[in-house]
């Protein structure tokens, strides 16, 4: 039996640990400095934020180069302890995925800072905005570095807070505040699952340290349907429940079905925030969490993850089809891609899922920032032309490639990456994912026809849909005519201006990362990428695990890779062609697009309203809870209080009753005796008539009586 306390000895700090902590604390420092800065120094806040994140990204790149494929770092100190339980530790656990995440987060954060200096210029909340960006970066880095699931949860909640604060940045907008609230509460739903997951692990192992958990998990056994770890044992389903509960947390943060509803609304925040938080980093935290706890997930739990992931990928892609808001399309696309990643985790393609996380982080950030650049340019245009229109609505766009050529190229590159065209980064990672999923289905179904094939199939359908909605967006935004200008017949001399160079810098770096050759020397074969060959899938340590399961998966995936590539490229071509056919410039759809309202048939409405999930939740969860809460208020004031008041009134009545008894019966006896005596007095009064003679007579009678009494 392993004593958990032995696994929790403090671990020494190295130079790298201190660098990690520096990376972690620099953004926090930026937040604090900006908070202290006086309101007049708004410009300085951007510089502070940029400077801190730049240093943090330089240090992270240094750490990556120094520590890549190394043994990893694990430093740990004791945080606090309870009674005689093993101490609670906190520390830094740096392995290859963490190193990569570190770089991705700091670099994208820096680029977003850079981009925002132009995008947010002149905003009233400029200083606040950069402060919160610092807070977010700090919390996100915390998730990456923490070696303890509870500490991950702590930073998990903190990114939720920063997300809340940033979405509600324009806090005079009702929709923004509601979106922020929704994001936080929906995330909380997932977090409750996360807490239960923590509780299961805690009650079995009495620690939440990741490394210790792995050792203890491996040492735990299954006997007679009981999952036994040391002195603690629970029934077996809790083992799977632990994994599913942790995944619930990931479901919230990574916007997985059925908790994906918050992400489209979160687009109310400033667009660079959407790029950083709601596309590249925070929403990927769920995938990263799954990667961290991957060895603790049972096969059943992973299957659950795979199903949810593939369903979300499909649902997100469908919902992206009929949107008119440029950011909403990207938001649903993010949901869909996150579904891919979690499907990858679920099918055991750990490395592919992480790979997709990184490639997606760059090209989706690039897409969002490009969208931001477009919105920025259109706002500027609207301001100069003095017309009011929704700068995010694609119906008001069209033909922008002429005015924003640089943005167009960046957008095109990242779109191709997202669709998964060969030679672009998305192709590599998506292929790895799909072959993994296919291999998993083969293995799980033992090559018989089974529902397991639905998982990769949904993945393939999503490939078609992805190509469809992205090509649609590309065509509607950049090709054809500039619709708002045509419709409003604006004077020719006012044109959409190109965006400032800071934006272009950020876009170009991100677009560069979307090319396949960055990630793999052979951009056609993902298995040759430096990334995948370096990442090792950790062994699943859950008791009762078939040791060959993971090896079989890898073999099968390599085996079917060629088929998957062919199928998916074929799918992309179909999707792209269909999109071109429907949405081509001068086509029927494009010509009528400006005056298009919502959607035209049931399926489009379904897509437009994101499967009516919001309405369903509103009718079946939110409304009943609101009604319940009001009813409970009534219960409190009308029933319980009423009972108390009635009880009090009953007591008062009882009091009156006893008072009556007191007055009339107890007092009555006293009064009666007084009355009686009084009557007697009245009766005898007449004897004292003041007549001397009658006194004498009475005295005589008295003496007589006395004498008689003595004699007898």
């Amino acid at each position: 039996m392993i004593n958990p306390a032995d696994l929790l000895e403090p671990l020494a700090w190295s130079q790298s640990t201190i660098l990690c902590l520096l990376v972690l604390l620099l953004p926090l420092f930026s937040f604090i400095v900006i908070a202290i800065l006086p309101n007049t120094q708004a410009k300085a806040s951007a510089w502070v934020g940029m400077f801190m994140t730049l240093i943090a990204s330089i240090i992270s790149v240094h750490l990556l180069i120094a520590g890549w494929q190394g043994a990893g770092i694990h430093s740990r100190v004791e945080w606090f302890s309870f009674g005689h339980l093993p101490p609670f530790t906190v520390g830094v656990l740096l392995n290859d995925p963490a190193l990569l995440m570190l770089v991705v987060v700091t670099v994208i954060s820096f680029l977003v800072h850079l981009f925002s200096t132009a995008y947010m210029a002149g905003d009233a909340g400029y200083k606040k905005y950069f402060g919160f960006l610092g807070l977010f970066t700090f919390s996100m880095l915390g998730i990456i570095l923490a070696d303890n699931v509870l500490v991950i949860f702590i930073f998990w909640e903190l990114v939720g807070l920063s997300s809340y604060l940033l979405i509600s940045h324009w806090n005079h907008k009702e929709s923004a505040i509601k979106a922020a609230k929704k994001a936080f509460i929906v995330n909380r739903v997932g977090d409750v699952g996360f807490i239960i997951g923590l509780a299961i692990l805690w009650s079995q192992f009495n620690t939440l340290d990741l490394e210790a958990l792995k050792v203890l998990m491996q040492a735990s056994t299954i006997e007679n349907g009981q999952w036994i770890a040391g002195a603690h044992s629970v029934s077996l389903p809790w083992l799977t429940a632990a994994g599913i509960c942790l995944f619930l947390g990931a479901m919230g943060k990574s916007a997985q079905f059925p908790l994906q509803v918050w992400l489209p609304d979160a687009m109310e925040g400033p667009t660079p925030v959407s790029a950083l938080i709601h596309a590249a980093t925070m929403v990927a935290a769920g995938v990263y969490l799954m990667a961290r706890v991957f060895p603790l997930m049972s096969i059943d739990a992973l299957t659950f993850v795979a199903i949810i992931g593939s369903v979300t990928a499909f649902m997100g892609a469908i919902a992206a089809l009929a949107q008119h808001d440029i950011k909403k399309v990207l938001a649903f696309s993010t949901i869909s891609q996150l579904g891919y990643m979690l499907m990858g985790m679920g099918v055991g393609a750990y490395d592919a899922a992480l790979f997709h996380l990184f490639t997606h982080a760059f090209f989706k950030a690039c897409l969002f920032l490009s969208a931001g650049a477009i919105i920025h340019a259109l706002h500027d245009y609207a301001h100069r032309a003095d017309i009011h229109f929704d700068a995010q609505d694609m119906r008001n766009m069209g033909g922008l490639r002429k005015y924003l050529p640089f943005t167009f190229i960046a957008y095109l590159v990242s779109t191709l990456a997202l669709i998964g065209i060969p030679f672009f980064s998305g192709y590599l990672s998506k292929d790895a994912l799909l072959s993994g999923a296919y291999a998993w289905a083969d293995l799980m179904s033992e090559r018989t026809l089974s529902w397991h094939y639905l998982v990769p199939d949904l993945g393939f359908i999503t490939v078609v849909l992805t190509a469809l909605y992205m090509v649609r967006q590309l065509l509607l935004v950049f090709f054809g005519d500039f619709r708002i200008a045509d419709e409003r017949s604006i004077e020719a001399n006012i044109k959409v201006k190109d965006v400032p160079w800071v934006m272009k810098t950020a876009l170009s770096i991100l677009a560069l990362m979307s090319f396949g050759f960055i990630w793999s020397l052979n951009p056609l074969n993902h298995s040759l990428s430096w990334f995948l060959s370096a990442l090792k899938t950790p062994t699943i340590l859950v008791p009762g695990m078939n040791g060959n399961w993971q090896n079989n998966l890898v073999e099968l995936a390599e085996h079917n890779h060629m088929q998957v590539t062919v199928i998916s490229v074929f799918m992309i071509v179909i999707g792209g062609l269909v999109a071109w056919f429907i949405y081509r410039p001068k086509g029927k759809y494009a010509i009528n697009y400006f005056s298009r309202q919502g959607a035209s048939n049931v399926w489009q409405w379904l897509s437009f309203n994101n499967w009516y999930l919001d309405e369903i939740y509103n009718d079946f969860i939110i409304q009943p809870i609101e009604v319940l809460s009001q009813k409970l208020q009534l219960l409190d004031t009308k029933v319980i209080d009423n009972f108390i008041d009635k009880f009090a009134i009953f007591n008062i009545i009882l009091g009156h009753l006893t008072a009556w008894v007191d007055r009339n019966i107890v007092d009555g006896l006293v009064n009666f005796s007084v009355y009686f005596v009084g009557r007697v007095g009245l009766m005898t009064k007449s004897m004292q008539g003041g007549k001397v003679q009658s006194y004498i007579a009475l005295a005589f009678v008295g003496i007589l009586i006395f004498i008689f009494w003595i004699i007898w």
């Binding site: 008539g689 003041g690 007549k691 001397v692 003679q693 009658s694 004498i696």
Partner: protein, 100 residues
């Protein structure tokens, strides 16, 4: 002659005296009733001592009572006079300030 007759006489006299005291309205008449009662007692004293030849206690007591009665009558009449002066009447029914 047995003493019985003296006692009967005395009792009769006492009763007459008492009746006079209780029934008469005039204070003087009441005083006279008192004299009768006292004399009834005197008769008893003397009658009881009739057969005792050694001592004359009864007789002496009777004499003493007579003297006392004279004094008492004097005081009583003086009070009645005072009462008459104050109330302008000697009717006992009217002098009822003791009434509760």
């Amino acid at each position: 002659m047995s003493s019985e007759y003296y006692f009967i006489l005395a009792a009769a006299l006492f009763c007459i005296g008492l009746a006079v005291i209780i029934t008469k309205k005039n204070a003087v008449m009441v005083l006279m009733g008192v004299e009768l009662v006292l004399n009834a007692a005197n008769i008893n004293f003397v009658a009881v001592n009739k057969n005792n030849l050694v001592s004359l206690d009864g007789q002496f007591f009777a004499l003493f009572v007579i003297v006392m009665a004279a004094a008492e009558a004097a005081v009583g009449l003086a009070i009645i006079l005072k009462l008459f002066k104050y109330y302008k009447t000697t009717e006992l029914d009217k002098i009822n300030q003791l009434k509760g």
